[in-house]
């Protein structure tokens, strides 16, 4: 992907870098303000859905945009975390914070196992391997109804009481928790890509042999970014299970992996805030077009094709070009 992503490491001028940093700070503040206003102007459950998928898309983009690895199986971490969280909350009666932690932890372990297999191959093979491994998780979920509830999924997951005190049954209360989780995820993502670790990941993405010749163990960095991405996807999946009180086969299906790719593509591959915009666009579209049934798939396919042919930078990529600053 090296030649298609904005080389955001290319701005070397110190002033320009400070400029970019302050722009990003302002965008973050803008997002925080939007999060405060959102529940009063939009349906909270809808906003929470957008936030969960935005977090999921951020996780996917961490791997693609900063690790240069296209995973076509991110539904595995999202869905498995969703199942574990739902199971822990419903059958073990865990508090939501522990249920979410359990889901996220399992996603990280799954990411460690799958990641160490998938990074053995590169490029197109990497995408196929992650897809095949995710399909394995799908079949596992289909065949273990005692854990996953089979076709029904795990329904009526209790939202429970946060820290045993705050009742999350009310949508407004839950909203603030989800908004906080999202903000924490976004800050963690931003911190990771701007850390020395993130810089090395970008170096490996742009020129792996050179990074290796400089003494970096490329595979360890790739695996680390894979695990972080799976973990973030798991956080999104777990939170989704609490919000919708449901974990189902849809979450682990390959079409979910495709959806997160689409969100990131629409928002802008390798941009920082693009996946959030992409998630907003795609989730809104699904909401408005829900009555059209199978046409939604066709429309998503058309968006895929149009994006690849005409609109490769994505929404934020185009805006970033206008203002000549990475977003």
């Amino acid at each position: 992907m090296a030649d298609v992503l904005p080389a955001d490491g290319s701005v070397t001028h110190a002033a320009a870098e400070r400029d970019t940093a302050s722009l990003h700070r302002n965008v973050m503040i803008g997002i925080a303000i939007a999060l405060v206003i959102a529940p009063f102007v939009a349906y909270p459950v809808f906003v929470m859905k957008v936030l969960c998928f935005a977090l999921f898309a951020l996780a996917f983009n961490l791997l693609l945009g900063y690790g240069g690895l296209l995973s076509f199986g991110h539904a595995a971490y999202f869905g498995m975390a969703s199942y574990v969280c739902a199971y822990a909350a419903k059958h073990w009666g865990l508090n939501p914070e522990f249920a979410i932690l359990a889901g996220t932890g399992v996603a990280a372990i799954l990411g460690l196992v799958f990641g160490s297999l998938a990074i053995r191959r590169q490029g197109i093979y990497f995408a196929m391997i992650t897809l095949a491994l995710a399909q394995m998780v799908f079949f596992f979920s289909l065949q273990t109804p005692r854990f996953t509830g089979g076709e029904d999924g795990i329904q009526a997951v209790p939202r429970g009481k946060l820290f045993g005190m705050i009742n999350l049954a009310d949508d407004r209360t839950l909203y603030w928790v989800v908004a906080l989780i999202f903000m924490a995820g976004l800050l963690a993502f931003y911190r990771i890509i701007h850390s020395p670790f993130g810089q090395v990941c970008k170096a490996i993405r742009d020129n792996e042999p050179r990074a290796i010749s400089l003494g970096y163990r490329a595979n360890q960095y790739k695996l680390a970014v894979f695990v972080l991405s799976a973990m973030l996807a798991g956080l999104a999946g777990s939170t989704k299970a609490i919000v919708f009180q449901l974990a189902s086969l849809t979450d682990v299906h390959w079409s979910m992996s495709g959806e997160v790719v689409l969100m990131t593509l629409v928002g802008g591959l390798g941009t920082i805030f693009g996946p959030i915009v992409g998630a907003l666009v795609i989730v809104s579209m699904q909401n408005f077009l829900a009555t059209l049934g199978a046409w939604v798939t066709v429309i998503q396919g058309v968006i895929f094709v149009l994006c690849v042919l005409l609109f490769r930078e994505g929404i934020l990529g185009v805006i970033a070009k206008w203002i000549k600053k990475p977003l």
Binding site: M1, A2, D3, V4, L70, F72, L117, R120, R121, Q122, G123, I124, Y125, A127, M128, I129, L131, A132, L133, Q135, M136, F139, F140, L142, Q143, W254, G258, V261, L265, G293, A294, W295, V296, T297, V298, Q300, G301, V302, I303, F304, V305, C307, V308, L309, R312
Partner: protein, 295 residues
């Protein structure tokens, strides 16, 4: 009757035959993927949808035009192959200079469109396709009953695979193809029309998928989703075999089908995942794939 490891031979050979049939589809589809990947450097995610289109075109030929199975076996690959040519000219040729992951995303989008359109038109419950009269019935081999149609599928698949292998490895056209795969610029410098070759190759790979679809139509019902899950298994097959060798793709496809059949007999729970598990093992032991060249 004798028994093998406590399994009645009827069940064992029946599943092996079914495995061989699945293996035929894996072989033809991974062959098509390998041929396309070799020249176009993209993974054709639309392959599953094109396999499904093959089955549907055969069904349409029969139900709308009254064209029988044998004609459809020729006609469907030509028609679907032609849509492949259109797709290559309209879309793929425009992104050939980009990172090959864009090819994956584009063909994924096309697969969603095609599958969605067929689902809207024909629903997802599946349509029946009769076995042609000449291939009804079967033979009693003593240890098992061999349905004629299933035997035909295996024979036809092997024939098509070998013909493809012969064409690529032994003919002049195949030599051009291999030359262009190795170095497209240099091949073009020798006066060979590489863009045309690329278009025809994509069309041919797609036609192979459609051929498999026609073969599959009487066995599985004709269903808009029939290619969607299959293509993921075929991806795993391709990872296991590596896309470097034509014969490798054929051998891997048939053997994995057999392994899947055996798993259905001895440990049915794992039959859906056994190919993915083999993929994991191969990645651990020989990451480049059984027949692959190290990247």
């Amino acid at each position: 009757m004798f028994e093998l490891l406590g399994i009645p031979p009827q069940a064992l050979f029946g599943q092996l035959l079914l495995g061989l049939i699945n293996g035929s589809f894996y072989a033809i589809l991974s062959l098509g993927l390998a041929v396309i990947f070799g020249l176009l450097n993209i993974i054709n995610f639309t392959h599953g949808a094109q396999y499904m289109m093959g089955a549907f075109v055969a069904w349409m030929c029969l139900n709308y035009l009254g064209v029988n199975y044998w004609a459809a076996l020729l006609l469907a690959p030509v028609i679907v192959g032609f849509t492949g040519v259109v797709i290559e000219r309209l879309f793929l040729s425009r992104i050939a200079h980009l990172d090959h992951l864009y090819g994956l995303l584009l063909t994924f989008g096309l697969a969603l469109i095609i599958q969605g359109l067929f689902r809207n038109q024909y629903g997802s419950s599946g349509l029946p396709y009769q076995i042609p009269d000449a291939l009804r019935g079967g033979y009693n081999l003593g240890f098992m009953f061999l349905p004629t149609y299933r035997a035909w599928v295996v024979v036809a698949s092997i024939a098509v695979c070998l013909a493809t292998w012969f064409m690529i490895e032994k003919t002049k056209l195949g030599a051009y193809l291999r030359a262009a795969t190795e170095n497209a610029t240099l091949t073009q410098a020798f006066g060979i029309n590489v863009p045309l070759l690329v278009t025809l190759t994509y069309g041919f790979g797609v036609a192979l998928a459609a051929f498999a679809g026609v073969l599959a139509a009487p066995i599985y019902s004709v269903n808009p989703n029939m290619g969607a899950d299959l293509i993921i298994v075929v991806f795993a097959v391709v990872v296991i075999g590596g896309m470097g060798s034509i014969m490798g793709a054929i051998v891997t496809g048939f053997s994995l089908g057999l392994v899947e059949g055996l798993t259905k007999v001895f440990y049915p729970e794992a039959s859906a995942t056994v190919i993915f598990i083999i993929m994991v093992l191969v990645l651990l032991v020989k990451p480049a794939g059984l027949f692959g060249r190290a990247a």
